[in-house]
Subunit: 428 residues, 2 copies
């Protein structure tokens, strides 16, 4: 049987899991692909870090970059992480030297995917990144193969398990953001530095990759990104009263001739499919022609789910299934004009915390009307033991820039006691 | 650019949709696969049937079998249907003559898939059948590629849109089976002869295909199949009161060292994911190692969703992605011993319609106890204006053969007014 020589670079949780899994399941993977995955080298920053397996010294490379020039390497699995530095150097060098690359690095692909894909295509090697977007959800292979027939209109969903865990725990346990975050860190559901998960940047990288696959476009930087760190318990509770949950959602969508990419907390009906996805799960919903709506759901992260994705990419290369990294030749990918969301219409949820005095409500509603935003629902709640109240407003669909203008205007008023909130609603 | 010559045989709703779709999207499909899908021939039983496109006479084959020997045909798409007759002849002949085959024919694959797969492997051509199982759900490609790393423990779900539509409409509209069926036929959700949908046979074919893929086994005929035609409004309503929905589910599962295949109406928690899938949707849940649980959901049938699946198979062949039809070489596929479910444990729902007289309840509970089935919950409801009552019993997990023994024994009693019911519960 043919064999393919593999170097695994990066041996953290994921690299270690993959290394062990490939060794333990070599026979069945060989049989399924008619080609043997043969690990010839491994390398990582720190040779002596404590790992749950013994490193075979014959496989160890002192300089990880040597893998890119070694004739006993056909495929490099990059598990270093980060858009810059060693990961970037490794992947560029590997492709230039006609090595196949498999990576779980969403930041790298979202930033340099176009350049990398051009080198891969020129050198007729694979660049595969299933593991970079929602590990346990085979979404990239489904877009590139299982759903290849389709003209996509929309892809959206929950792409970050950490923030979904935090929001759903706040909802279920009625706890504050910080309490839940601490607990998530204790349980290993949030990293000690969870910035990119909470800021929406992690979702943004994944969404950029998905939208370029859906629309046959180059990666596009025009994306609206908001994270979840301003969501508080009151927002969660008001949303619940109104029949919604708050989820951090990513959307790439074609509306008329406009494409939008956006990541932000969203009110979505509790009874909807996405509303029911709680905890660390990921869910991707695709809307295409002719398939209609398809949903893929699974564990988004963690060494096990990520290894499932890495092996699917490695298997594809074992079978010699050479494809364009972004589903279509770079010559054919388009430079689409992604639009700013300011002109897009949204229904929205507003929350104002205001001094309880006459004229406030009338001033607020006046500002809405001046911005041509019409109100669908209004709830005024006196705050307990305070001379202030909360005003919740749900609007009819209105231009995003008008919604933002309202927030800006009202925040300047002296009757505002806390920064006002604006959360978009998914009302489709 | 290379091209691949295609013959489409069978031009009903699906064949016609595919023919038009391939023509209209030839350019983008060629670009994605670096190879042109070139339709050289078409054929169908009736040339003069009314179709929504004009048949190009140059493409028409009077004898569909000629496609299997024509040197201008590389790939035959079989859309005739049925496990025997012309479809069987066509696919066998095609593979023998080294033509690739793409088919949507679940009955054929479930019955002759092993033989066909051997010929395909020997002749190094593809035999692909994504469209045979849940069209809009790319489950076969996900099992063969996206989730290739995994050792599967279980695959289950809703594989038949017609019966799911009927059961969920009975639930929502509180209508009888026959009322809903008539309506489904009017709306095109059920065929004029819906036997194979309602008997569970359609699900059984799909399940056999999925379980052989999951467990790397040959197709296995040992499968327990029950359909939905005995489910009535009262069952639906009692299930609802107890927090369940009734769904027609298919399961292939590895428990300990035993593999079971089963298709039957099942009580499943209304609040569960599968419980929430209503209407004509299909949902497939996979439980594997290392991926954990993944879910794929989408439209199960209809020309559009089926075409999405057919094009994904055709694309795979356009890219020269030659694979084993059942994921692994026939030499490596196992002859696993699938077990009868009689020894498997299930919780169950029983419904008895009995004369309202002293001693009945005590006799029933005695029969349960004699069969070592312990009762978890019992509800007795007097029927309106009648000297009879309904007794609903939910059991703890018990051997399937004991559950069946109870039904058989009690049905013989003179106090039974209507045939008793036994529906298994999914309580995992």
């Amino acid at each position: 049987m043919k064999k393919l020589n593999i170097a695994i670079i990066g041996l953290g949780n994921i690299g270690s899991y993959l290394y062990k899994y490939l060794n333990q399941n070599k026979k069945i993977i060989s049989k399924k692909n008619n080609c043997i995955p043969n690990i010839t080298y491994i390398s990582a920053k720190n040779k002596n870090r404590k790992r749950n397996f013994k490193i075979n010294k014959k496989l160890w490379l002192n300089n990880y970059l040597d893998a890119t020039k070694n004739k006993n390497v056909d495929l490099i699995v990059e598990l270093i992480g980060g858009a810059e530095g060693p990961a970037k150097k490794l992947v560029f060098e590997a492709l230039k030297n006609k090595k196949h690359v498999v990576t779980a690095n969403k930041a790298l692909i979202a930033k340099y995917g176009d350049q990398l894909s051009k080198i891969a295509e020129k050198n007729k090697v694979n660049l595969e990144f299933e593991a970079s977007v929602c590990g346990g959800v085979p979404i990239i292979r489904s877009l590139k193969e299982g759903l290849i027939a389709n003209k996509m209109n929309k892809v959206f969903g929950i792409f970050n398990g950490t923030s979904n865990y935090i929001l759903s725990s706040m909802d279920k346990e009625n706890k504050s953001f910080n309490e839940v975050l601490k607990n998530a860190q204790k349980l290993g559901y949030a990293e000690s530095n969870p910035t990119s998960d909470l800021s929406g940047d992690d979702v943004a990288s994944k969404l950029k990759i998905l939208s370029s696959l859906c629309f046959n476009s180059f990666l596009n930087k025009n994306i609206h990104v908001e994270g979840i760190k301003d969501i508080d318990k009151d927002d969660i509770n008001y949303a619940k009263r109104l029949g919604y949950k708050i989820k951090l959602l990513g959307y790439a969508e074609l509306i008329g001739k406009n494409i939008y990419q956006r990541v932000h907390p969203t009110l979505i009906r509790s009874s909807s499919y996405v509303g029911s996805i709680d905890g660390v799960l990921n869910a991707v919903i695709i809307d295409g022609n002719p398939v209609g709506q398809s949903v893929i759901q699974g564990e988004g992260a963690g060494p096990a789910a990520t290894t499932s994705a890495l092996i699917s990419d490695i298997s594809s290369i074992l079978r010699g299934n050479i494809k364009f990294p972004f589903s279509i030749s770079n010559k054919e990918r388009k430079n689409l004009d992604f639009k700013d969301i300011s002109e897009r219409f949204f229904s929205a949820y507003f929350r104002f915390n205001v001094t309880d005095k006459p004229g406030v409500l009338s001033n607020i509603t006046q500002i809405f009307s001046r911005n041509k935003v019409s109100i669908k629902r209004l709830v005024q709640d006196p705050n307990k033991n305070k001379s202030s109240s909360s005003i919740i407003i749900i609007t009819h669909p209105s231009k995003d820039k008008s919604l933002n203008k309202i927030i800006k205007t009202i925040n300047k008023r002296s009757y505002v006691k806390k920064r006002s909130k604006l959360i978009r609603i998914d009302d489709e």
